[in-house]
């Protein structure tokens, strides 16, 4: 294979991988606060695209307003989801919480179907125009948007975690929730903020990718599997590792394409299972986090 072709595959891998990274971050953030895998994460992604299409097409807002509005609205959905579905059972066992998120995911996608129909809905590119040439490969403009947004999200999240009081409290909850509570941290609030952040990141991924793929009420589950696989690949609980896991999964998928393009969607599941069997702590985490 030629270099340009390889480069083209790498670009596609990093584009999809960035999307997986945002979803993986959502899984990781909620897991860190609750020890629960939030299977509704993919619905935040779907709703991001849906709300953007609704604001753009139905409300007639310009994209520059429709996109942020969609992200904010889905963040609100994340908060509502936590308050209505998670909070009442917060002290329940993990399994029932996981089942609640699965149920929540079904409810959200059914609602979306009811509200927005079952057709695939397109959204224009943020900045339409011809692809850019780069060393013999082509980069779609929207891909640059995706990378830019992912970069901003990761930098902002890193600042939040490392520089702010809230971020420190969130990391403390990650390490030892009981101790965090004893130090005066309102762990209930941290859980709510975690859902808000996860919803925001999912929505961001959804709006960024919809111009390339369009959106439909039932795309949440499929993307959730990929985001989850990326999170597990990175090792649940560490945001940076989640991003690395997402990018790596995107690249692995592209590496499979030359052999069989139909296998691409199985990659995530294979990766997921292999990691769970061989290295359950993830690739980028040396030991399981210790509980003191």
């Amino acid at each position: 294979m030629e270099n340009a072709e390889l480069l083209q595959l790498a670009i596609a891998g990093l584009k999809n991988g960035s999307i997986y990274a945002l979803l993986a971050l959502g899984f990781t953030i909620v897991y860190a606060a609750t020890n629960v895998i939030n299977f509704a994460q993919g619905e935040f992604f779907m709703l991001g695209g849906m709300f953007a299409v609704f604001a753009f097409k139905t409300l007639g807002l310009p994209l520059i307003a429709a996109v942020p509005l969609a992200v904010v609205a889905v963040t609100g959905v994340g908060v509502l989801f936590e308050v209505l579905a998670i909070r009442p059972r917060r002290d329940g066992d993990q399994m029932s919480l996981v089942i609640i998120t699965v149920g929540g995911s079904l409810v959200l996608s059914s609602l979306a179907r009811h509200l927005f129909g079952s057709d695939a809905l397109p959204l224009p590119e943020f900045t339409p125009g011809p692809s850019l040439a780069f060393a013999g490969a082509a980069i779609e403009r929207q891909t640059l948007w995706i990378w830019g947004l992912v970069l901003i999200a990761v930098v902002a999240l890193t600042m939040l975690y490392s520089r702010t009081r809230l971020g420190r409290a969130m990391r403390a909850c990650m390490q030892n929730r009981e101790a965090a509570r004893l130090m005066g941290i309102d762990t209930g609030r941290v859980v709510m903020i975690s859902f808000a952040l996860a919803a925001m990141l999912g929505a961001l991924a959804g709006v960024a990718v919809t111009p390339l793929t369009s959106t439909r009420f039932d795309i949440g589950a499929g993307i959730a599997v990929k985001g989850f696989a990326a999170a597990i690949l990175g090792g649940l609980g560490n945001p940076i590792a989640a991003v690395a896991g997402g990018l790596l999964l995107g690249l692995i998928e592209q590496a499979v394409i030359p052999f069989s393009s139909t296998l691409k969607d199985v990659v995530a599941i294979v990766v997921l299972l292999s990691v769970l069997f061989v290295r359950p702590q993830g690739l980028f985490i040396r030991e399981r986090k210790e509980k003191t």
Binding site: R168, A172, E178, L182, M183, I185, K289
Partner: protein, 243 residues
């Protein structure tokens, strides 16, 4: 200052703490001794708000805090140094201390927090040498010092200590207890739960003997040290004479 009256708490239907009353004033250390499973840790957790109180009253300086959630009870001046230390293992010594002061925000508090940090380092100089080290990599003694230091960062009025000597060498235990003496003399109230009843009763003013969720006996520490029943059961005095 801290007053606990008729406190009932537990995990399932049966009450583990079944009507215990304890009082501590500023600058006083009281100790709870009793066999494994007597309910000492449960009592401290209930006072700190980590588990719900089923009946009874917890108040500090006359303010009823019985139903104040754990994360706000710290702001009332009650802080628990839990059994097993519960440090933020992956975070540095400095960050653990900062988290202890989580509720003290605003420009006015910043200076006081900085001073308290220096005070903790004064009390436990080894922590100052290891400021950047992850808490999980500290030795057992250093971890216990950090757990106490972290609690002190909340500027408490009452410190609840659950077995601070557990698993530590005598020399380190000595260092920790002299630090506790200093804190007590500076006006802090303390409720100390200890396996080593002799050690605890030597440092405390008063003691409570807890048996299956109730106070079986209470009194000045010297009296309990001399009490034949206590010596027999909790001090292992069968083999030794009072030293």
């Amino acid at each position: 200052m801290l007053s606990v009256q008729g406190l009932v708490a537990g995990y399932s239907a049966a009450a583990v703490v079944d009507g215990i009353s304890v009082a501590v004033s500023a600058g006083e250390m009281v100790t709870l001794v009793g066999a494994n499973g007597a309910g000492k840790s449960t009592l401290l957790k209930a006072i700190a708000g980590a588990i719900p109180v089923r009946a009874g009253l917890v108040s500090i300086d006359g303010e009823d805090v019985t139903n104040v959630p754990a994360h706000r009870r710290v702001g009332k001046g009650i802080v628990l140094v839990p059994e097993g230390r519960m440090l933020f293992a992956g975070m540095s010594v400095d960050e653990n201390l900062t988290l202890g002061a989580h509720l003290r925000t605003g420009p006015a508090a910043r200076r006081a927090v900085a001073e308290d940090r220096e005070r903790v380092f004064g009390l436990f100089p080894v922590l100052a040498e290891r400021r950047r080290q992850a808490a999980g990599t500290l030795s057992g003694g250093e971890q216990q010092m950090l757990a106490i230091g972290r609690a002190m960062m909340s500027a408490p009025r009452v410190l609840l200590l659950d077995e601070p000597s557990l698993g530590l060498a005598p020399k380190v235990i000595g260092e920790i207890f002299s630090a506790l003496d200093v804190l007590r003399d500076s006006g802090l109230g303390m409720v100390l739960v200890e396996q080593d009843a002799r050690l605890a009763l030597r440092h405390a003013c008063r003691g409570y003997v807890v048996r299956t969720g109730r106070v079986a006996l209470e009194g000045p520490a010297e009296e309990l040290l001399d009490n034949d029943d206590v010596r027999l059961i909790y001090l292992g005095a069968w083999h030794e004479t009072k030293g």
